[in-house]
Symmetry: C2
Amino acid sequence: MSRRLLLFSNSTNHGQGYLDHALAEIDSFLGPVRRLVFVPFALHNGAAYGAKVGERLAAIGVEVAILTADEAGRRLAREAAAVFTGGGNTFRLLKTLQDAGLLSILRERARAGMPYLGSSAGTNIAAPTIRTTNDMPIVQPASFEALGLVPFQINPHYLDPDPGSTHMGETREQRIREFQEENETPVVGLREGAWLRVEGAHAVIGGARGTRIFRRGLEPEERGTGASLDDLL
Amino acid sequence: MSRRLLLFSNSTNHGQGYLDHALAEIDSFLGPVRRLVFVPFALHNGAAYGAKVGERLAAIGVEVAILTADEAGRRLAREAAAVFTGGGNTFRLLKTLQDAGLLSILRERARAGMPYLGSSAGTNIAAPTIRTTNDMPIVQPASFEALGLVPFQINPHYLDPDPGSTHMGETREQRIREFQEENETPVVGLREGAWLRVEGAHAVIGGARGTRIFRRGLEPEERGTGASLDDLL
């Protein structure tokens, strides 16, 4: 697969502004490409969301068109030089893409090499399914199947257990283990500040704080910034 | 509806043993009924889960039969004196009930007055849908529609925002607001330690720490132990 992917855990690091930690990497990843189509469907107000992203990416000279869930949107997706899918609710995002016939277009384009960028929910849908999202299932998509641009699952905003917590809900690690009781797919827990850059058969961890890799029947494995994930591709 | 429901946020309070905070209320709720059918499907190992519950409820003289996802289970559900559904993963629980044809049996029985008890995932499925679960969507049920024993959604393990947190994932309140961007149904955020007891047209909050009520377009409202939820029924 001639894929080119840049998958962020999150769009905003604590104490920083929107995309502050991501902008230099986006700039380098896009290279000569200076326009992209933004997918805003994870938030309720797509127009406002797209405007905010357009303003932010103007700082690195990248022009933004906002995807819509209609025929004009399908045309835009077919012709996009690159696509960036923003965070929010993964179920809403996936359902909108499915219902508008956009999911298959984006899948085909990204698999053929169109640069794909995602953050949080936008990173979730790059995986085979959305079965490792943290989001609330506020709407029901016809299927949990997503873009499948990598063969492993990703858990964005990956959070280590807090030893001081008195909350009795499941830790993130427990939730991922539950996933692997039902599914064999490996899961990459992507901490806030970290990202994955995938070019064809190579994947490398970027940013800060690294990843935790979960494989059924094995102890979780830490992989930090600069480490390869080629063995999972 | 002649329903009788006892819906716990959680089965274990921090620093206590399994069902410690719930046992006296279960005893009072069941009254003369001294046997129930336990629904273990939210966890992977149903037999071990059921055995643990059986041991715990023996302390108040309640005998436990463990539901299975087959014809014997459907017979058990049709004849149950009471049903208790334990916590774990709500998607796995709902899918198992749907696939085995148990959901409609439990719905009919509980709506006709068979005492229904739930904890966490077992409380989620008492609502119209599972759209306000905190759980990871590790498997895909055919539908998010659940038992619909009350007309409002419940969010178990409801957690107030932590002002000291540096994590950038959505707070629980933000997630519930996202739900209400897409759905009009009120949501009862049920804190750990709290429960709802519903008898016909009356619902009252029990236990500790109370609830936070979310209605579209209104500010969230606090309701504490002893308060009524009749207006939401």
